[in-house]
Symmetry: C2
Subunit: 312 residues, 2 copies
């Protein structure tokens, strides 16, 4: 595991390539929640989500020899855009395997960042095979969106910045999907917080992280019927031990709580956040008795939303 | 007319009661427009719009004797909320005349800021009579949302802040409805800009300001069929002379240009802006040949949107 000093060094190394996103607060939302909330706005991050941090950290971690051959990932979401832009910033090729079912707008975003797209059948097996083929042919390095240590540490740098600005937070809440953001944030909270706890938040509909902490092994979701489309994936063997060690609790929320938390953030803070991001705020509202009077940090993970398909 | 020094003093006086809103930029929108754009985000202003500046300036301008009797306005929009909150901040009553047709959500917002609501028939005559009655009964002072000099100067302080951060802007564009924001901004640009010009932007559907500049007298809109609901009103005798003297041009835009500019801002910048605010950016896009390579400031006037009734 990375040391505190190495974590700081990693953070410094990615700074030229990422935005230092602002921390927002709202009187009204504070009143509503009964706590002081500091929203770390990764929706304003480059490529629209925190994933830019992990992608950049992972690429910078490659030797120059290896790096110049490029990077590969399979993703239909924010990580595809992040890897494309991070690779572009560092002058190397990015090979992105996308399922044929991926929306045109996502493909266009990847192309815009000069990612080289390979379309495959929309199954995990096809995606993995297509990515492996590219690795063999090009010598490019495969990047995993959430279960790779340098990616995890990169994602954790948002919490480092939040704690730099608000050093006496009592807790930090992040959404949990694949587990990269939560694991990285939990380690950051452990290193850089003063008696600060880290909580995960996920929909009841995809409560694999909650179930995994309970059973002590990585659980999978039987169905993934949630509006929080970034949170459908499961934990991995690299991030799960960090989550077990450093996360206090996973709070689960209902779908209508996600939509109403999202609407509150949009209406009151005038910022666009993804449903997945709203899950952390929904968790705070659900458990507000528990957190009353505390100083809470929330990682707003991203702002990539399809405006043609809103839940209100 | 206010002097440069007095303008600065007025700005200092309102600072404790308003947010210094951030200035945002977007690589992608810059590329699209062919200019560097600095968005002054008054959608993050208290009560969700620049109107908070003018309302606060006007109340602070009253003698203590007069002020304590309170203030009155008639509005169904952002000014009602701004006057209520500004009055609450200064510990005086705010009497708000609202038409019976005003949406519940607007009434709730005014109540939330402790404004005392009087409901009247939805005609201008009824609104004015109801306000006059309150003035007579309570001794409160009537505040006009756009045609009152201290309100106009207050609105202009957003442009002062923008020019403090970006002193070498070539132009500033604001939407124009009642004319308060445009007149105040134009005066600020004249005092605080270096060879900076001020432009107004309005929908073709309500091009009264354009027509007024052309004819040399205040014109009214025959119909007000625009999505930019904050821009339906006409200029007044206090702001029109300032607009005539200090505004270079009014740029008109089509309704579909407003919607697409609004969508671009939402999608690319991840912030919620009103249709009225998108009008200024739509004007820049429409006239992009003219402004290519320039450094442009845009006042994002507000972010109060009905999420249940979006144009996309």
């Amino acid at each position: 595991m990375i040391s505190k000093k190495e974590f700081q060094r990693l953070h410094r190394s990615i700074k030229p390539y990422i935005h230092r996103t602002p921390v927002f607060s709202s009187h009204l939302l504070n009143e509503l929640a009964g706590t002081s909330i500091f929203f770390k706005c990764e929706n304003f991050q480059r490529a629209g989500a925190f994933k830019m941090r992990g992608a950049t950290a992972a690429i910078l971690n490659l030797s120059e020899q290896v790096r110049k051959k490029g990077v590969v990932t399979h993703s239909s979401g924010n990580f595809a855009q992040a890897v494309s832009l991070a690779a572009k910033n560092l002058g190397i090729p990015a090979y992105i395997v996308m399922p044929s079912s991926a929306p045109e707008v996502k493909k266009a975003a990847v192309k815009n960042y000069e990612g080289k797209i390979t379309i495959c059948q929309p199954t995990l097996k096809d995606r993995e095979e297509a990515a492996e083929k590219i690795v063999k042919e090009t010598g490019a390095t495969f990047l995993h969106p959430s279960n790779q240590l340098d990616v995890i540490y990169g994602q954790g740098t948002a919490a480092i910045e939040l704690l730099e600005e608000q050093p006496d937070l009592d807790l930090v809440i992040t959404p949990v999907g694949g587990g990269g953001l939560l694991a990285g944030s939990a380690l950051a909270v452990n290193y850089f917080g003063k008696s600060c706890e880290c909580f995960g938040a996920e929909p009841f509909e995809v409560d694999d992280a909650y179930q995994s902490l309970k059973s002590g092994k990585i659980e999978t979701n039987k169905s993934t019927n949630t509006i929080a489309d970034g949170l459908k994936t499961q934990l991995g063997d690299k991030n799960f031990p960090l989550i077990q060690k450093y996360v206090s609790e996973i709070i689960r929320v209902e779908e209508d709580e996600i939509v109403s938390a999202m609407r509150l953030i949009w209406e009151r803070m005038k910022i666009i956040v993804e449903p997945s991001s709203a899950v952390a705020f929904a968790a705070l509202l659900r458990e507000k008795k528990k957190f009353r009077g505390k100083k809470t940090g929330i990682i707003i993970s991203g702002g990539n939303v399809d405006l043609s398909n809103l839940p209100f």
